[in-house]
Symmetry: C2
């Protein structure tokens, strides 16, 4: 990528939940945007979106729309990325893709800037943004991985409905109103838009995110297994995930248990986490201080608390990790990759 | 206890969330109640409660109220149990106590009828009902413990606000209305009634249930550690818990990972769970069938699903366990103990 004053940026899926946050994040971070091109499917064409006080019209996402683009941020679903990302690359753009289609392709770097920024430079046009629940976990674990090594991870997630897009948010809000009004609860989207059964999400917990694989784990869970290994570049890490959707709008939480390779000092663990980029430690039990989704919403950091040594395993450590799934888990991580590329030139 | 046609039953804390469910459960199960005495604090005296079509007036819980009582079910808080349970025992009653005060007293049996019914006969007047999150976990693990032994448990809970009583339920409902109406959210009770800070519970997850101990674990978490060992009569089981409150009204869920002593066959695990008393297996991933709090509410069973072998540990097994925390986790388990004593005479 040539050094420039300003970069032409396309956002694909500009009217979706993540696309909107990408545009907001570009503005908030004052990313050096030259031309901004907002792309979406034909039914969204003509919609208006504000960016830095100016109105932009949404255009159709088609190959020609990537002419002259430097960064193409994709958040429009796997099939769109599969079709259009190569077209954008062919026209000279760097694609930062938020879908899962390219994540496990060996030549595509899977990047969390706090963890493996070095992978960015190996890109061949496409850089993949990991899954939201993976991103916040690996940010929290990175300083501990570097200091002690990590043998295994057992993680239970508490995931917000915004992970299923605006339709997930609307489904929870509609259902919650119905429960409070004593009306019948009719699910319209959750747990999985593409799946036939809709379950009650209001005042409920659903142990399904994405479809299930033959081994009994969901795709969301397998992403945490496979992406964690790829991001750390370590095929030995053992990850045991349970991914659960709860009635939260924004912000994923994770109860993370790890076993380190070397023994650790708990005070040092705390210091390493406090000093690590992208992490805010909130862990003052006497003051009832710990991370929660409601306080993480709208922020960029990964919050870590409930840091405690296991009662039995000498190298066992427990953490509670919270982050805004749509920002650090998606939009901010994507913009952050672009920032990194711009700054490191 | 002498065999009788009917037994005089006192419910202490008759106007509370668990007390109410105890009365309902006694009626639903057609427990052979002779006289029913509903006891509570002075401020609830005179309130009326229905039982089998008759109206009962709430009386003050004081020592004399236990004269002639066969079973005294306590659900009025630790200090009341501490003061009045010995008085009830002195007057010849068997106390089944839902608070935590006697649970770890060596002479007091801590009983889940599906797991350690033999402990009941060792009582010296008081039988303790375990903590809700412990009960449903040990019911699910009992058949596996018997078949394979259990070395360790790593569990993350998804707990309903009714575990904090009616005030917890009201707090969540009020807050949820406020969020939907765009009003300021003011917490009044959660996460812990006795603690100064109140956090947002609506659309949030709070990693605190009860107060914290010096080791960084909460009392709720330590109950799962200590009570599990006592109920199984096995001081070697290692439990690593994270207890989290989520915006659910009734029904706790738990992501449970275990390592067995002997190796297991997954199909046999399924069969053992299906045949075990008190357990309903709901585990058909193709049909998106798994346990959820909303469907467990109002029922007596412990539901188990997401049964899957760990991807890495040869003796690692994952389960998702759901039950109504106020019923099997409290009221039903207490009445069940009384039923067991009546039937086994």
């Amino acid at each position: 990528m040539v050094i420039k004053e300003r970069y032409n940026v396309a956002v694909v899926g500009a009217t979706g939940a993540v696309g909107q946050k990408m545009i907001e994040t570009l503005e908030k971070r004052d990313f050096p945007v030259g031309e901004l091109r907002l792309l979406a499917s034909p039914r969204s064409v003509g919609q208006q979106v504000m960016f830095k006080g100016q109105t932009y019209k949404v255009e159709e996402a088609r190959p020609e729309a990537f002419e002259g683009i430097d960064f193409a941020l994709f958040a429009a679903g796997g099939s769109i990325s599969e079709k259009l990302a190569p077209e954008a690359v062919e026209r000279g753009a760097v694609v930062i893709d938020n879908t899962s289609v390219f994540r496990m392709v060996p030549e595509v770097p899977l990047v969390v800037p706090e963890v493996n920024p070095h992978a960015i430079s190996q890109h061949q046009g496409i850089i993949a943004n990991p899954n939201c629940s993976t991103i916040q976990m690996v940010v929290a674990l990175k300083p501990l991985y570097d200091a002690y090594g990590i043998e295994r991870i057992i993680v239970s997630t508490y995931q917000a409905v915004s992970g299923a897009g605006q339709k997930g948010v609307d489904d929870l809000l509609d259902q919650t109103r119905a429960v409070l009004n004593g009306e019948e609860v009719v699910g319209t989207h959750l747990p999985v838009g593409s799946q036939p059964k809709k379950h009650q999400m209001a005042f409920n917990a659903i142990p399904q995110i994405d479809v299930f694989e033959e081994n009994g784990f969901s795709k969301e869970e397998m992403k945490m297994v496979n992406e964690t290994r790829k991001i750390f570049g370590d095929q030995e890490i053992q990850v045991t995930p349970t991914a659960v959707r709860i009635p939260v709008l924004f912000g994923h939480a994770e109860a993370v248990y790890i076993e380190t390779e070397k023994s650790f000092d708990l005070e040092e663990v705390r210091q390493l986490l406090e000093q690590a980029p992208g992490i805010t430690v909130l862990d003052n039990l006497k003051e009832q201080e710990y991370p929660m989704p409601a306080m993480a919403e709208g922020t960029h950091d990964v919050y870590v608390g409930r840091i405690r040594r296991d009662l039995f395993h000498p190298r066992g450590l427990n953490l509670w990790v919270v982050s805004d799934n749509v920002l650090k888990g998606a939009a901010w991580n994507a913009v952050q990759i672009a920032e990194y590329m711009v700054k490191s030139k």
